[in-house]
């Protein structure tokens, strides 16, 4: 997942990830890309459109 510069690390993506694959730190997001099934839920809910699939 590509995290855009304007991500504010609110964590909404992590909250809805059905596989619990997103770790939200104070100023970074860590995705377990290898386990992602590309459901796009995280991309859809982002309040500022800061996530993009690779």
């Amino acid at each position: 997942m590509i995290v855009k510069d304007w991500c504010m690390y609110c964590g909404e993506c992590a909250g809805v990830c059905p596989r619990n694959l997103i770790e939200v730190k104070e100023s970074s997001l860590v995705f377990k890309d290898d386990e992602c099934r590309e459901c796009d839920t995280c991309v859809i809910v982002c309040p500022v459109n800061a996530l993009e699939k690779k």
Binding site: M8, C10, G11, E12, C13, A14, G15, V16, P18, N20, I22, E23, V24, K25, E26, T41, I44, V45, C46, P47, V48, N49
Partner: protein
Amino acid sequence: MIETDVLIVGAGPAGSIAAKHAAMGGAKVIIIEKKSEIGAPKRCAEGISDNGMKFLGIDIDPRWALKEIEGIRLIAPDGTDVWLNDEIELPEAGYVVERKVFDKYMAMDAGRAGAEIKIKTLAKSVRKEGNSYVVLCESMGELFEIKAKILIGADGPESHIGRWAGLKSGTKAKDMESGAQFEMANVQMENNSVLEFYFGKVAPGGYAWIFPKGRDIANVGLAVIAKDTDKTAYEHLVDFVANCPATQNAIPVELNIGGDPVGGVVKEIYGDNIMIVGDAAGQVNPLTGGGIISGMIAGMFAGETAADAIKNGDYSAKVLSKYADRFDDHYGEKMDKYIKSRHYLASLSDDELDSIAHAFQDVEFEEVSTTELIKNLIKVSPKALLKLGKLI
């Protein structure tokens, strides 16, 4: 390895009050908070109810209570408004607070009660070890473990703790509102002692709000259900600010975003050696999205339950279920009612919302009966009434 009776992940209001009550009950308590500043950045409109604070036994303090609220103004898509004053029960009416101060104040209270706070400390994973949980933590580049007899997840809408521990505590996207909010100056409200709520296409699946913070300052925000719109919450907010009469000359000084779980309490909020509280548990008013007070009441119940469990040496799910029972006794019926109301509101078209506002515009709610309200609604929008009937 650090050992403790109770480990709480997250120092928001729910986590801090859980820590305070667990410590007051004699338990050894540690709270970890991943951020470097408790309470910032905020992710909410900052409304709390007066009754809620009374129930929690917390005195209103001018250091964090910025504005006392006297009523609510509901605005339909065509601009028709309905005013509700504080003589009828308003779930979020009380005060608008400054979360950056409020959350720290609650954490300080927990610290004074004996809880240890570890700031800038992230929970990385959880594992069960005998009759305890072990949490792998990271702080300033250092990894270490904390072993706790009872683990309380107060880690917000992005919660991992419950799911790592195997609880059915996930939130589906349809139940997560995406929120965006500006804190603004030079906001020109009709009355800066009321909360304003705007309904309709302005915020699909949710609503927009203006919460006054004193003088000409206010939180101006909205929440949407992502599947109900092609635009982001932020894009809806920019449109709202551009079109709302109150914000034509307003100046943004802060942008906040975040998710709000409005689907009601998640399936499992406790298990052996574990409880989850606050947004992590979906303990948010599904109608208003307000979660400070409900989360804190849950936190207080969880903290007290944890302290009793530690005293008695029994941290089983059976003992910890008392927390869930107390929360259900306090909120269960209201939560069901609010979920139905939310679905009802979401089902209404802009025309139907306008009709309802017309029916209720000049009603003195504290003096009118439910029958009269329904009669008014039949006159202006039988369709809206029919939808209501199907939900009840």
